[in-house]
C-alpha cells in the first residue's frame, strides 16, 4: 500500500453524547472534533499540539480505527478507516504514553513476541528486531524481566519498542516520551527522527506536550484546540507569524490578580503567567515595544518589583499561547488576552 497522502481527513467530526444521569438530567453533547481537515504526506513527521481535552487523542483513536467518526471521513494509507478498518490495521501501529498493556507474569521479551504474533510476524524476524530495539531504548538487560517488576519508565520503553517492532508504515505516537528520563527521551527522539528520515515510506503522527520535542522533530505542526485545527505549518513558519509582534519575559515579585492588571492595557495581545520559585514569570506578546512602559507602571502600582526583563524570539509556545490563549503544561501557566482578542 503506498499513497501520496499517508493520512487525510475531510471535515472529520466526533461528538460524544453525555448521558442524562451524568449531565444532571439533561442530555448534552461534547464536540471532541469539529470538522477537521488534515493532509499528511507519506514520509512526514507530523506533530499535533494541544492542551488536554483539545481532541488529539480522539483524532488518533479515529485514525487507528478505535473510534468511529460522527461526521466527515478519514483515510490512512489511502484506505477509509470506517469502511475498511482491517486493511488500515495491517499498516499501522500506535504507542501511547502511560500505557499499561501486557501481562504482568510474562517477561519483556514474551510480551513483545506475543504482540508480534497479532501482526503475523515470524519468530526469527521478531526476535532480531526486538534485540535491536531493546538495545536502542536501553532495555536489553531487562529482556527477561517480568513486566510487573518494571518501573513506569521501563514499561514505557517496552511500549515504545512494541510500536516499532512491527515496522509499520504509519505510526501514531501519543506522548511517547511520557515518564522517560531525559537521556532516554533524547535517544528516542533521535531514533524517531532517523526512522522517518531514512525511510521515505514511513510516516509518524506525534502528539506531545513538549514544545521542544515538536520543534526538534516535526516537519510540520498542527495546533488543535476545542476540536479545531487553529494552525498548521512548519515550526519556522508558525513562529514567523509572531515576528511582527514582540515577545517579552518579565520576572517580578508576586503580584495579585495579574489578569485584571494587564488585560486592558493597550498593545498587549496575549500574556501568560506562572509562579516559579516564589516569584512570578510573565510572558507578553505585544504589538510593539511601546506597550512595555505601561506594563512596568502597572507592576509598580501593584507594589511588585521587577527582577528581570528579557526580549525573546518567539517560540512555538508563544505561537501556542497566541492561538489558544494559554500555556500547554498542566497547571503551569494561566493566561489572559487583551480585550477583543480570541
Amino acid at each position: 500500500m503506498s499513497a501520496e497522502l499517508a493520512i487525510k481527513t475531510e471535515q472529520l467530526s466526533r461528538v460524544y453524547k453525555v448521558k442524562k444521569r451524568e449531565a444532571r438530567g439533561r442530555e448534552r453533547e461534547i464536540v471532541a472534533l469539529d470538522r477537521v481537515d488534515l493532509e499528511i504526506p507519506t514520509g512526514e513527521l507530523f506533530g499535533l499540539l494541544g492542551p488536554n481535552g483539545a481532541g488529539k487523542t480522539t483524532l488518533i483513536k479515529i485514525l487507528t480505527t478505535l473510534l468511529a467518526p460522527s461526521g466527515g471521513r478519514a483515510w490512512v494509507g489511502g484506505v477509509d478507516v470506517a469502511r475498511n478498518p482491517w486493511e488500515v490495521r495491517r499498516h499501522i501501529n500506535s504507542v501511547s504514553g502511560g500505557e499499561s498493556s501486557g501481562y504482568g507474569l510474562l517477561t519483556v521479551e514474551e510480551n513483545l513476541w506475543m504482540f508480534t504474533q497479532f501482526y503475523g510476524m515470524d519468530g526469527k524476524t521478531a526476535r532480531g528486531r526486538m534485540r535491536e530495539l531493546l538495545e536502542i531504548v536501553g532495555l536489553a538487560d531487562r529482556a527477561r524481566t517480568k513486566i510487573y517488576h518494571l518501573s513506569t519508565g521501563m514499561r514505557q520503553k517496552m511500549n515504545f519498542v512494541r510500536g516499532f517492532l512491527t515496522d509499520p508504515e504509519i505510526l501514531f505516537l501519543d506522548e511517547p516520551t511520557l515518564g522517560l528520563d531525559v537521556q532516554t527521551s533524547h535517544r528516542l527522539r533521535a531514533f524517531i527522527k532517523g526512522w522517518v528520515g531514512e525511510r521515505a515510506d514511513k510516516t509518524v503522527l506525534l502528539t506531545t506536550h513538549y514544545m521542544y520535542e515538536a520543534e526538534e522533530l516535526c516537519d510540520r505542526v498542527a495546533i488543535i484546540h476545542d476540536g479545531r485545527i487553529l494552525a498548521c505549518d512548519t515550526p519556522g513558519n508558525l513562529k514567523k507569524r509572531l515576528q511582527r509582534e514582540v515577545v517579552f519575559r518579565l520576572q517580578v515579585t508576586a503580584i495579585a490578580e495579574p489578569e485584571k492588571l494587564f488585560q486592558h492595557l493597550q498593545g498587549v495581545r496575549r500574556f501568560s503567567h506562572a509562579e516559579i520559585n516564589g516569584h512570578m514569570e510573565l510572558d507578553f506578546i505585544l504589538e510593539d515595544e511601546n506597550a512595555l512602559p505601561p506594563i512596568l507602571t502597572a507592576i509598580q502600582a501593584s507594589h511588585g518589583e521587577l527582577i528581570s526583563l528579557e526580549k525573546r524570539e518567539p517560540t512555538l509556545e508563544d505561537v501556542f499561547i497566541s492561538l489558544v490563549g494559554r500555556g500547554l503544561r498542566d497547571g503551569g501557566r494561566s493566561a489572559g488576552a487583551a480585550e477583543g482578542e480570541p
Binding site: R14, Y16, K61, T64, T65, L66, L67, A68, W86, R89, R90, I92, N93, S94, E99, S100, S101, G102, Y103, L105, L106, E110, W113, M114, F115, T116, Q117, F118, Y119, G120, M121, K146, R162
Partner: protein, 275 residues
Amino acid sequence: MRLPSRWEIFWRTVMGRAYPRVVGMQRERSWLLFDTLLPLLQVSAFVFIYRAIQAPPEFTGFVVLGGAMTAYWLNVLWSMASQFYWEKETGNLELYIIAPTSLMAILLGMAIGGMVATTVRAAAVVTVGLFVFGVRVSIVSVPQLLGVFLLTLLALYGLGMLFSSLFLLYGRQASHLSELFQEPVYLLSGFYFPVRALGFIAALGASVIPITLGLDAMRQLLFPTMMAQFRFLDVRIELAALAVLSIVFLWLARRALNYMEDVSRREGRLTVRWQ
C-alpha cells in the same frame, strides 16, 4: 515486503494469545490448590447430600461428572465471557483492535491456553470421584463418549465467545454478569441431578446451554442402567443437537463480535474504563 495472509495472522494470534495463559499458570502455581482441591471439596458436598438422602450410588457418578463439567463452565464464564472486559481495563483491548487480527483468534487462543488448567481440574474431580467415592461406570461407547465431550466443549466455547461480545457491549462490571449465570445454569443444566427432573419442556429450553445435552448424553453413556429412567433424549439426537449448537454459536459469535466492535467504535466504548 510481503504482508502475512489473514490465515497466517489468525494462527499466529491463536498461539500468541495462548502463550500467556500456559506460561502464566507455570509461574504462579496457586491455581493448583484453588482450581483442584477446593472444587473437589465442593463436589464432595453434593455427594454427601445424596448419601444423606440415600440416593442410589449412580447419583454419586452424576455429581462427579457434573462437578467435572463445572470446570469448563466456569472457565467459559470467567476466562472467556468476562475476558474482553478485563482486557479493556488493562489497556490490551485497544491494542488487539488496532492489530490486523481477529478477535475470535484472540478468544480461541485464550480458550486453548486456559484448557490446560481446566482439564486438570476436571480430571482431578473425575479421578477422585472414581477412586475415593467408588464410582462404577459402564461405558457404552468410547467414540460416542469422546464425540459428545468434544462437541460439548466446541459448542460451549462458541457460547463463551458469544458472551464475550455481549458482556463487553452490555455489561458493566462483567464479573457480576458471570456470577449471575453461575447458579441458574447449575440448576437448568442439571449439573447435580438429571435434567429430566425439570420436566421435558424446561429441559428442552435449557438445552440451548450445551452442557445440558452434553451431561445428559455422557451420563447415559457411563451409567446406562440408571439413566434409562432419567434420560432426556436419545444420545444420537443429543450428539446431533450439539453439532448444530456448535455451528450456530460459532457463527453467532463471529457476527456478535463484529457487531460489538462496530457499536463500541461508534459509541466510543472500546477504551472507556472502570465501568
